[in-house]
Homo-oligomer: 257 residues x 6
Amino acid sequence: DFKRAIMEVTPSFGSTDNQFESYAENGIINYGPVFDKLLQSGNAFVEQVKKSKRTPMMSVLLSGRPGCGKSSLAATLAKSSEFPFTRIISPNDLLGYNESAKASKITKVFEDSYKSPMSCVVVDEIERLIEYVPIGPRFSNLILQTLAVLFKRTPPKGRKLLVIATTSNPDILKDMDLMDCFATILTVPSISTAQEFQTVCFELGFTQKEAAEAATFFTAPITIKQIIMIVEMARQEEGTFINNFKMCLEDFNIRNF
Amino acid sequence: DFKRAIMEVTPSFGSTDNQFESYAENGIINYGPVFDKLLQSGNAFVEQVKKSKRTPMMSVLLSGRPGCGKSSLAATLAKSSEFPFTRIISPNDLLGYNESAKASKITKVFEDSYKSPMSCVVVDEIERLIEYVPIGPRFSNLILQTLAVLFKRTPPKGRKLLVIATTSNPDILKDMDLMDCFATILTVPSISTAQEFQTVCFELGFTQKEAAEAATFFTAPITIKQIIMIVEMARQEEGTFINNFKMCLEDFNIRNF
Amino acid sequence: DFKRAIMEVTPSFGSTDNQFESYAENGIINYGPVFDKLLQSGNAFVEQVKKSKRTPMMSVLLSGRPGCGKSSLAATLAKSSEFPFTRIISPNDLLGYNESAKASKITKVFEDSYKSPMSCVVVDEIERLIEYVPIGPRFSNLILQTLAVLFKRTPPKGRKLLVIATTSNPDILKDMDLMDCFATILTVPSISTAQEFQTVCFELGFTQKEAAEAATFFTAPITIKQIIMIVEMARQEEGTFINNFKMCLEDFNIRNF
Amino acid sequence: DFKRAIMEVTPSFGSTDNQFESYAENGIINYGPVFDKLLQSGNAFVEQVKKSKRTPMMSVLLSGRPGCGKSSLAATLAKSSEFPFTRIISPNDLLGYNESAKASKITKVFEDSYKSPMSCVVVDEIERLIEYVPIGPRFSNLILQTLAVLFKRTPPKGRKLLVIATTSNPDILKDMDLMDCFATILTVPSISTAQEFQTVCFELGFTQKEAAEAATFFTAPITIKQIIMIVEMARQEEGTFINNFKMCLEDFNIRNF
Amino acid sequence: DFKRAIMEVTPSFGSTDNQFESYAENGIINYGPVFDKLLQSGNAFVEQVKKSKRTPMMSVLLSGRPGCGKSSLAATLAKSSEFPFTRIISPNDLLGYNESAKASKITKVFEDSYKSPMSCVVVDEIERLIEYVPIGPRFSNLILQTLAVLFKRTPPKGRKLLVIATTSNPDILKDMDLMDCFATILTVPSISTAQEFQTVCFELGFTQKEAAEAATFFTAPITIKQIIMIVEMARQEEGTFINNFKMCLEDFNIRNF
Amino acid sequence: DFKRAIMEVTPSFGSTDNQFESYAENGIINYGPVFDKLLQSGNAFVEQVKKSKRTPMMSVLLSGRPGCGKSSLAATLAKSSEFPFTRIISPNDLLGYNESAKASKITKVFEDSYKSPMSCVVVDEIERLIEYVPIGPRFSNLILQTLAVLFKRTPPKGRKLLVIATTSNPDILKDMDLMDCFATILTVPSISTAQEFQTVCFELGFTQKEAAEAATFFTAPITIKQIIMIVEMARQEEGTFINNFKMCLEDFNIRNF
Ligand SMILES: Nc1ncnc2c1ncn2[C@@H]1O[C@H](COP(=O)(O)OP(=O)(O)OP(=O)(O)O)[C@@H](O)[C@H]1O
Ligand SMILES: Nc1ncnc2c1ncn2[C@@H]1O[C@H](COP(=O)(O)OP(=O)(O)OP(=O)(O)O)[C@@H](O)[C@H]1O
Ligand SMILES: Nc1ncnc2c1ncn2[C@@H]1O[C@H](COP(=O)(O)OP(=O)(O)OP(=O)(O)O)[C@@H](O)[C@H]1O
Ligand SMILES: Nc1ncnc2c1ncn2[C@@H]1O[C@H](COP(=O)(O)OP(=O)(O)OP(=O)(O)O)[C@@H](O)[C@H]1O
Ligand SMILES: Nc1ncnc2c1ncn2[C@@H]1O[C@H](COP(=O)(O)OP(=O)(O)OP(=O)(O)O)[C@@H](O)[C@H]1O
Ligand SMILES: Nc1ncnc2c1ncn2[C@@H]1O[C@H](COP(=O)(O)OP(=O)(O)OP(=O)(O)O)[C@@H](O)[C@H]1O
Ligand SMILES: [Mg+2]
Ligand SMILES: [Mg+2]
Ligand SMILES: [Mg+2]
Ligand SMILES: [Mg+2]
Ligand SMILES: [Mg+2]
Ligand SMILES: [Mg+2]
């Protein structure tokens, strides 16, 4: 029982200490105007919550392909808001809890946030939080209903709250009537032009020349996360790096299209 | 255990103290004759319950798009009825309770109401109370059956009760045979004319001129809640307010149609 | 345990004391020959159970639209049978019990009835008792199976039992193979002619002239319960009563057809 | 615990004492050659179990419309077998037990039967025992699997067992792969000819002349149970009995075809 | 507790003592070359497990119509293997255990088998073990997954195991991806020729002449189990045995085709 | 409790001691260039995890027909990685645990792996781990969600982890949105050419001549596991080995195509 007492004191879940450390572990690359615009919108929401009296609460959804950088962007916005209370609710931290424990842990984070004058809560990977699987489909209706209420519930008088949620699967959120909970939806794009591709490669350590050559291989939208994986694979192979990279990219494209 | 004893004494759920505070937090705007008519019907039901001997109990449904103002209207009617017992049953207050606890808390409010000579109970967001999700579809049949009985059950001799329920999804209530429980259904409309739009803008602090210009941007029905969100977003951006407002409204319309 | 002992003594559910009070709260209007015939059939079943040796047990189903008067008629028949044991099993009294408690409470009423030489049990709103909802569809199979057995089970030697069940949804009972349990089915009609309509209005307090005028508004079948609601609504409005009544009736017809 | 000890001693379920009393409560009418044949087949199975060494166990299914007399016939066969151990497993006696209690009570009867050199077990209304409802469809798979095993399981060396099961719904038994469990299936027919109809009426107390006249009303197959109900209804009405009977029969035919 | 201790000692389930007694209770009839071949294949598997080093574990499936003799054949093979450890897992012995108790009892038999150098485990009536019913369909996924693992899991170094499973429903095993677990599948046929039919009849005690005449009645494949039932039925009737047999066979064929 | 304490100390599940012993029990045959390439890719992933800073975590999926050698290959790669922490999570070791115990045992292995600087975890037979059955389909969503998180969760700073998962059913993984968790997917092929077939036969102990003749029987892709089974069957039969082998192979091909 002593051990248990300890556990109840230690805020193991949702503690803010170094929660942000495991996000954006490969940094944030500003790959061009599209990303600039995205960051600017995100910051505008932070400002609105700070200042507006009529909208003390706002829920925003970041939506985009797996690996496009939703979690990194959400964490970055939350951190840079410098709100006194910032938390990330992530499936990574909820493994092992049952449906109802998850729901109450999620609720707890929101209720803690109501105690701070200004808060930002990131709700990462909604579909994983609700344990969604397309076959069935199955999901935790308990967690879903909890989120549906929390995304809309106004905090007590004088408290302000920005919610940034992420999803790779906006369609099912729509099917679940969850879209109406959000004031607005931001789409996080993939790397979609040769120019952006070149910038990313350069930032990942390619020489100017390598990056320029790499840009000529670009054929289809790809996420930064995937580019990083391909670069690292290419580094393992023998032979010229840029050739390896080309081959790995081709392999990847064949497998995915 | 002491703490728990306290909790059982404090009527945390459904207490009337400042329950109404969190509704209509942006006030009620009289945007024209349509709203007048709505308010008048609502008040007629209050009168009927007060006076009629043959219908000591009436259940009314407010139905309309998310954000059209159902909860605000219901709360306003309940408050202005000045019945000795007025309560709001809302999903916001039921988070964390399981299906059967929710059902019994709902029942408790009705049974408390039977002790007062004249009562008004608001049942807000039926679809959320029954934990409805369109995929499946899934919902709590226990809570649904409880509501189906409570919406029709006559209070004891000499007691009078007005029930005002709200929903954004009247179709599913029909599919669930819940419509037969209501004596009548009131549709809460969106802002549907440029004139109404202008009135709302003016009431939200636009100058006469700004409101008139804003009215020229009106293209499609929109709820007051959405107008408020757009106004507040526009206030964050740099540049002329009315231009920002136009752009934000256009963005909104593109995203929704 | 003392408290519990008390509870077991107090027959809180299904007690006969003033159970009938809350039925037919607006009285029974004899609106013409159709109703006469219905009442006569009902009384014939009472007689048969009283006298026949070969059919000591009979189950009869009253079926008809919501509000057509099934519960009122069933309660009236039970009361007028003057059998020593008469009970109504109603969803109103079973709120808050779980599936299995409901089933055993229902069984208890039947087993109590077996102790009386002559009994009449009303089983009101079968679809609500079995917690039926069309979406799914879902219902309590436990309660359904319990009813299916009880509706057919012969009481012990020398005991006689009349069961009067009601439903607004005979189709689903058929789909559930429950129809075979009943010896016969009586259809409770709506008010279907201008003449009947006129009689009902007159009995509800219209003057002879008002009732005659009201009859000219009659366009489609309507239940007595609905007529009462419309009359009471009309009484709230300003202006001539009969004009208000006409408008309320029109409103009602528009909403329902 | 004393009370419980008593209960365990008293064989409340499946006791043979007067279990057979509540079956064939209106006697068995020999309505002609079809019935003769049926009885003869039934008796042959009794003989086979008694004498054959190769088939110490036989399961027979009686199938027919509700009210055709399956339960009465099964009980009569069991009784007349004069086997030392005869039991009826009926849904009437299993009300209030849960799925698993039912399954184990059923198993218990079979295991008791294995202790007697010669046994006959009637399993009445399989579809009700397995709590079958066509919507879904739903049923207790636990009880179904239990029956599927018990209908085929050979008793210990030297023991003999005849199982007579009844059903109104052979199609669903087929769909459930339960038909393979039975060595053979007997169809219990309705009253299907004017001659049989006349015999039944006479046996129910009609005069020779009344019975002959009644036979002229015969239009469609009908069960003895239904004839009895119609006769008793006719006795309640005023006027000539045979005319009332004609009208009641017509009413019945209209309602059912 | 003393009683319970005893029970834990007595290996009531899966004990080898006289487990085989209740199988092939009517003996094994060698009805011709088809059966010879079948027996030979079965014995080859026994040999392979005994001798091969590369396949210390083999799972074989016997599949065929209800009553074709699968259980009898499996039991006969197991017995004649003379492996130190032989067990039959049969639904007959698992009645009354819940899903998870069944799964662990099944697992226990396999784990016991791993302690013997050479083992044969018969898994009788897979579809009944997994509590399969076609409506739904429903079955115990827990038991299914347990079997899927056990049918493939290699015993510890130096141990050898032959698994013989039986089913009447190979199609559903295929639908459940269970077929891949078996090294091979043997089909157990029905009696399919007049010659085989004659042999079986003769072995069942017909005179040479009767058997020859019986063979002329043969029209369609039939299992030995069914032939035995028909023979025993014929013995109950009055008149010449061979005529009775003909009639019983005709009855049977009509009912089944 | 003493016994339990012991059990908690003994790391019965996932202990590395001789976990690898039961894999590749028939050795690894290098059957040609296709296999060379496969092994090389596998080793490249090991290297990447060892060296890359940007991808401290990688999940790879091995997919292929039952018996193609996925488990053997995965175990071989894990072993040859010589990472300080290597484990295999296999359904074989999880029999008897319930859904939630399985999920937490799986999680435990991953969390143990995070304590080692460099780890390799094999997750064998995903579809069996999640208790997948195509009818329904049914599976453990709890285990599925656990895997979905674990396959993507980055280990703590400075830790590295290679996950090698196997499946015979990549389609259902795709349907379950599980494919996005893997950085890449390797297809483990069957023996697909006469040349490969010949090599395998030779390695299984055929003489040069027998292997060459065997190659002429090759008609369709077959797994090594199946070849081994056929070889061992052939060894049981009388007559020339190579003829027996031909016949067994033909039997096999008929049964499977
Ligand atoms: N501009 C950027 N925006 C976001 N991420 C970036 C950017 N530049 C580089 N990255 C890197 O790209 C990776 C994005 O991964 P992240 O986990 O955020 O994607 P995700 O969309 O959340 O993926 P998933 O759908 O799998 O959760 C991170 O390693 C991050 O450091
Ligand atoms: N005439 C009006 N009627 C209702 N609400 C109004 C009116 N005028 C202004 N409002 C404001 O509009 C907002 C309406 O929001 P409210 O939550 O009541 O809508 P709702 O229909 O209940 O939405 P939801 O479907 O999301 O529950 C409130 O902020 C309220 O103060
Ligand atoms: N002849 C009549 N028969 C039945 N009810 C009548 C009659 N005349 C007047 N009434 C009144 O009509 C109303 C009928 O309501 P009742 O609740 O019995 O209908 P119901 O069919 O049971 O409705 P529901 O389907 O909603 O349960 C009662 O207020 C009753 O007093
Ligand atoms: N020859 C007969 N066979 C069977 N029942 C007869 C016969 N003659 C008269 N009866 C009477 O007919 C009635 C048959 O009812 P019984 O309950 O046995 O029918 P059932 O087929 O079991 O009906 P259910 O499907 O409702 O269970 C009994 O009252 C019985 O006394
Ligand atoms: N050659 C034979 N093979 C198998 N059974 C035989 C043979 N000859 C006679 N029999 C007898 O036939 C009967 C076969 O019944 P068994 O229960 O083994 O069939 P089954 O296929 O397992 O049936 P079920 O599908 O109902 O389980 C037994 O009574 C057995 O003694
Ligand atoms: N090159 C090889 N790769 C893999 N296995 C090989 C190879 N050569 C020989 N084998 C043998 O082939 C068999 C492959 O069986 P294994 O259990 O690994 O297949 P699997 O694909 O995991 O099958 P399953 O889908 O049934 O789990 C093992 O006995 C292994 O020793
Ligand atoms: Mg993410
Ligand atoms: Mg609302
Ligand atoms: Mg009613
Ligand atoms: Mg019956
Ligand atoms: Mg068998
Ligand atoms: Mg494997």
